[in-house]
Symmetry: D2
Amino acid sequence: MAKISGLLYSHSANIIHADQHLDRDEGLFFMRLEWSLENFDMAAFERAFAELARGLKLRWRMQLSARRMKVAMMVSRYQHCLADLLHRQQTGELHCDIPLILSNHRDAEKLAAFHGIPFYAIPVTQENRAQAEAEQIRLIGEHACDLIVLARYMQVLSPGFVARFPQRIINVHHSFLPAFTGARPYHAAFSRGVKIIGATSHYVTDVLDEGPIIDQDVMRVSHRDQTENLIEKGRDLERMVLSRAVKWHTEGRILCYGNKTVIFD
Amino acid sequence: MAKISGLLYSHSANIIHADQHLDRDEGLFFMRLEWSLENFDMAAFERAFAELARGLKLRWRMQLSARRMKVAMMVSRYQHCLADLLHRQQTGELHCDIPLILSNHRDAEKLAAFHGIPFYAIPVTQENRAQAEAEQIRLIGEHACDLIVLARYMQVLSPGFVARFPQRIINVHHSFLPAFTGARPYHAAFSRGVKIIGATSHYVTDVLDEGPIIDQDVMRVSHRDQTENLIEKGRDLERMVLSRAVKWHTEGRILCYGNKTVIFD
Amino acid sequence: MAKISGLLYSHSANIIHADQHLDRDEGLFFMRLEWSLENFDMAAFERAFAELARGLKLRWRMQLSARRMKVAMMVSRYQHCLADLLHRQQTGELHCDIPLILSNHRDAEKLAAFHGIPFYAIPVTQENRAQAEAEQIRLIGEHACDLIVLARYMQVLSPGFVARFPQRIINVHHSFLPAFTGARPYHAAFSRGVKIIGATSHYVTDVLDEGPIIDQDVMRVSHRDQTENLIEKGRDLERMVLSRAVKWHTEGRILCYGNKTVIFD
Amino acid sequence: MAKISGLLYSHSANIIHADQHLDRDEGLFFMRLEWSLENFDMAAFERAFAELARGLKLRWRMQLSARRMKVAMMVSRYQHCLADLLHRQQTGELHCDIPLILSNHRDAEKLAAFHGIPFYAIPVTQENRAQAEAEQIRLIGEHACDLIVLARYMQVLSPGFVARFPQRIINVHHSFLPAFTGARPYHAAFSRGVKIIGATSHYVTDVLDEGPIIDQDVMRVSHRDQTENLIEKGRDLERMVLSRAVKWHTEGRILCYGNKTVIFD
């Protein structure tokens, strides 16, 4: 901390945001620094910092706020998360570009058109999965996407797909993980008689619903709520946890370690 | 509903609280009625109602608000829930009597004495479990308890014990069920990296942590929270979900069906 | 209660939802009953009920679930609430028709077109207010609207306008009322240093921000949140409290009395 | 930041917790650092730091975690906050000593005795206020208290009293400030028909209920809740916001500036 902040100081950086986290059990130190580039010699700093980082054996990344991430959306039939993300992107709440929307259905085509975003419908079946994924990966690559958001995309991605984008695929699961993993979590919640429902956004790993949790939110329900009420109320939770996850990721506020996330808000 | 409210009307009952619930999938109708006994001929009503209930094949119970339930407390070493319940009982928030406190340790003895409640320390080991439970059951019976509250009692009760008190044992589990059943849920929550922790009060059945849920509450946590912080924050949740469950039970606001509860609040 | 449920029973009504509320201080009894019209002789029931209601001096209303309310939307520049309501209406979450959108700006025109809803831009100034309101009222009447929703409409309606639509105008105020009434509540919240922000949906009366509260929601904030963060976070609250209010109103779940609401959920 | 962390590094400090906050509008930078004293030459560091702080014109304070603050409790008749704080202190959740309890009533005497804490009942009337406060101040001084906690102390302290303990008196107000300042906030909340109630802990300044907010919490209520239900539910909120405020203060996690707090959690 001393050395890095000292280096920034010596390069006259004007720090905007600084946050740290110390995991003493693991012996890890995390730091996020955000500074203005006004009158700042980036090239000189990068050279000096690279040397420092080598000496301290840091794992680090540098990200330009001005550079907008490119985000690929994947969606199936339910459009509430997608509509919400597109609206937030349009109003500037999400600082990113959305160069394409991929779907295994055509339902979202009109919504995509309204926002002027290229839409690709690629049906996925048991038989053509490998081929469909190859096509998806090609399109994502063609548009140079930094992040893939599964906005209620109801197909399980293959391990090969997931491995290509480590910590770059965000999913929303419609339960309070680790409760109710797998299919139809609202039905399971209703059947268990819970008094609170939830939703979870997380990075996708090769174990279903087990990736690092980014955000969770919950809502109180009662015996009056039938499964369809849980589904409806849950949509608000899904929208919020997914949009916050995308926002934090695109702003470089998430650090992953082990199977956890540090959120520098 | 028509016939019961009609009967009450014909007996000049002054209704204080009325609530219903309809589970259309199960074809069940639930009703809770609370009325004043001023100028009310209870004996006559009871005769008429019993006949009506037979005709309609109702499952019902009648409870006098003036009669305070007797509640046995069981506790191990952590006293935060017990101290909280005793305080609420003392201030009149809980309308019940607490004739005895049972523990497998002596830690809570002073607290019991402060509140003037008989305290019985009955150590429980692998070997003497049957004998210890027999002694507990004897004491609970001797004090004619209507309800048993496990206020962080860390021993698993035998199926025989549980079977004796159906829907009359309330436990608090220190997680958001069904997530993190079993031992050390805060450690499991920390290790999974959840962003929200919870606590659950429920009726005890013979399957551990699977009984009908009465109440749940949650609190946001972050990467800054170590396991000990989760434990500390969770204590507030445990106090609240357990005290609400005891309050609702003693006020006759809980109806169980299947593995669920209807809470008439 | 006995007489009404008895009457329904004698007409073989199949009750779907029943809820009551008793305000003992005010000596008021509220009841909401929902029943199926299958094999139900509505005309006969209406005659019998009208007579009963006269005898009991009830204030009552009857509403057909099958009849969709017509809702006029009014909006200024911020479109997050409008976009949210239109999406919910489109997916069937809101059971209503939206025959027109009124605005004092043109910003929402494209959004209206996407949803195929007639859009009227009527600029409002200090000078033309009376004339503008007359035009708004004419259009609302022409489309036979049952409800007017101010989805972040930033003009204060005149007492004359409000008086025409008692308990039929719903507004969202971007604070936790009664804190921070009036203009720029997020700025006021920031300046006061609150740790939680809120939003409120309420019926509009002739006293600004003083009408009966329908719903409120809140979110935790911290010293890290600047005014612009409060504004952004608050948008999620505004969407939720407004959409819930519209949903409950269109489903006939709200009863007003005094300056309060009973919500039969 | 660079210089301070550099100084700590050069003294081989082992940092345990580091947090910063930047208020760009006000041009203020806040930092909290916590480090271990193992193999740390405190005297040498203090000399070097004092010099550095002078040069940088820092406002700073240094606090030894090992030194337990002394906290005076003031209470009137309602004991729920006091009982809660004493329990938390006893179990080690609050790292402080409580050398005395002051009250204008005798109700809490038994509770004080149970915890072995000297109890002083000093009646306060319109006439003897000055004298009573003088006695309170004498006792607080005699026990060298660092902090005064108003655990539902229902007398307004004089400006002279308050001025003696700047940012060293913590109060709990039983509403979601700035809503419902002054007396009987639950009655006011009931009468306004709010759907959420709250509680607020704050530092006491000479303007009633206007001091810097430390923590707030809220709970959903409904039309079913009468004033007495709000009072009862609110007690849980009061306990939580007050105990968190005391915990944070005694751990040195609160920085005040303007009329706000920074909470380094």
